[in-house]
Amino acid sequence: MPPPTPLSPPELSYLFTSLSLTPPIRPDLRSASQFRPLIAECSFLPHCNGSSRICMTEAGECIVGIKAEVEKDATSKYATIIEREKWIEVSVEVAGGGASGPGSGVGVGGISGAGGASGRDEGDGGAAVWLKEGLLACGGDGWSILDRLVISKGWHWKLYIDVLLLTPTSHPSPLLLSTAVNMALDSTYLPKLTSPHDVDDIPAFSDDWAISVPLYEPTTFPRPPISLPVVAIGDNVFLDPSVAEVATAEVGLVVTLALSDADGSCDIVGVRGMEVGRAGGKEGDRKGINRKLLRKMVTTCVNEASEVIKTLGETTHKQMFRA
């Protein structure tokens, strides 16, 4: 189901026309690749290893807390991939801005294949699934986030990523969710191990937070991933679409990117389809998408978004440093 909109057919038709012009006119007069302003802060929860709060005008507010617990490996032998993937648990809870309680949502982000609004990453988890997938896919060259979670022989960190969504709609922008998770991961610190690595006794940690170890080393790559929604109307590609633009769009994608070097170039970690309104065409008139248009959408993301992702990382580090 595409996100429901309060817009009437004439309004959608007007939007469709103005967005398919060359150059297009967006309802809020942004340029095609311009993002909306957002408020971001991190590491403000004392009980969490990492935390963040992102506030966007239309999409609402998202608070993420990351907690790490010491856990014994399930088997004494080399842990399998399936077991290792359980080291990270993502859960998304949707609580409306007021009257609508949890569970009132239909599907977070309107991403294809994503079921219920709230849930854990196991089974029908909706947003939690693609958030975790992006996290695990991010890496390459044998590097994986899971390697960072190994404490010592037989022990690992179990990472709980809890996302709290305070949104007016049940379809918040995937950008809101992934930015919040990205920032929280970037600000996550784990206590420093003081016992030896190769002993399988219960590990011991230093009490001193000043020497704690960041989950993502600040200067190494890849950085935590970020998912960007992108929609196309006619031949025009729009980054960070508003609810009205999603309702009007003919095709939508969520492109997951991770910063791969200091110059700001990005790796594509994942691409998913996003449910859009397709208000332009008649009902039942599904034309399909041109391959070239899809390519254009992905390249626009990679080219235009890197600066935003880079700045976000810098903001996080600035706030961490201040804290």
């Binding site: 929860l45 009980h47 507010e61 807390g65 801005g97 009257a99 709980y160 305070l166």
Partner: protein, 245 residues
């Protein structure tokens, strides 16, 4: 000899209180954020609006409903509290009853005012922080109330009486460590009138100590009111100036 508590405060000192109004950009009519020490609470208020449920319609006044959510990461250990958790329900009822008596509900017949509270971090005095956050959010939403509702906690440091028979000073605004160690109560007053609207205590305490604890709690409430009032006035002034330009 006046001793210091484990976080360096004296018996009658509050923790740092930081509050903000209109923090949320969501569709809530009013929102607030309050930090009392490491206890951090976010509150959204919607309404007066049409009741979500027919059962909540009252012909002559507004219904006040309250939803409390504990974030899974709010405590020291990760605990998920469901909707039917006893502690959650208790908090909801306490807050709902408190505000039903303070909000001028007769002005909004057949409507509903929803207070939704998110507890992000717990470090003692959760109920007090929830009540304070709700007051600020209701003010932000412009819902008429008779006065501020301010809450504060107080604890009795020890139940052993000294030689003269006088009990030691109660502690104001207990943190998590103190709360789990000594008997404490939460008291909420209407403005600085010293009239109590909510009182809750879950421990055993000697009857002689109770009145002193309540008295200290009330004096704390008056100070909390001062801090909250200052922030409301600052925010109001800032908003008016911004609109005047």
């Amino acid at each position: 000899m006046e001793g210091l508590r484990n976080d360096g405060r004296r018996w009658n000192e509050l923790r740092r209180i930081h509050c903000q109004l209109s923090t949320s950009s969501t569709n809530a009519d009013g929102s607030s954020y309050i930090e009392q020490g490491f206890t951090k609470v976010l509150c959204n208020v919607t309404g007066p609006a049409e009741p979500s449920n027919r059962q909540r319609v009252k012909q002559d006044s507004a219904t006040v409903s309250c939803e409390v959510y504990f974030a899974a990461f709010s405590g020291t250990d990760r605990i998920k509290r469901g909707r039917n958790d006893k502690k959650v329900q208790e908090l909801q009822t306490a807050i709902q009853k408190t505000f039903s008596s303070i909000i001028l509900t007769h002005l909004f017949a057949r409507s509903e005012i929803t207070i939704s509270i998110h507890i992000l971090s717990q470090d003692g005095g959760t109920l007090a922080a929830c009540i304070n956050a709700a007051t600020l959010a209701l003010i932000d939403a412009g819902i008429p109330m008779t006065d501020y509702v301010c809450a504060c906690t107080a604890g009795q440091s020890t139940s052993i009486f000294d030689n003269e028979g006088a009990s030691p000073d109660p502690w104001l605004d207990v943190n998590y460590l103190e709360e789990s160690d000594i008997p404490s109560l939460t008291v909420a007053t209407v403005g600085d009138s010293e009239k109590i609207v909510a009182l809750s205590m879950e421990n055993k305490v000697r009857i002689e100590a109770l009145e002193a604890m309540i008295a200290v709690g009330i004096s704390g409430c008056a100070r909390v009111r001062g801090i909250m009032d200052k922030e409301v006035r600052r925010y109001g002034k800032e908003k008016l100036e911004a609109e005047g330009e």
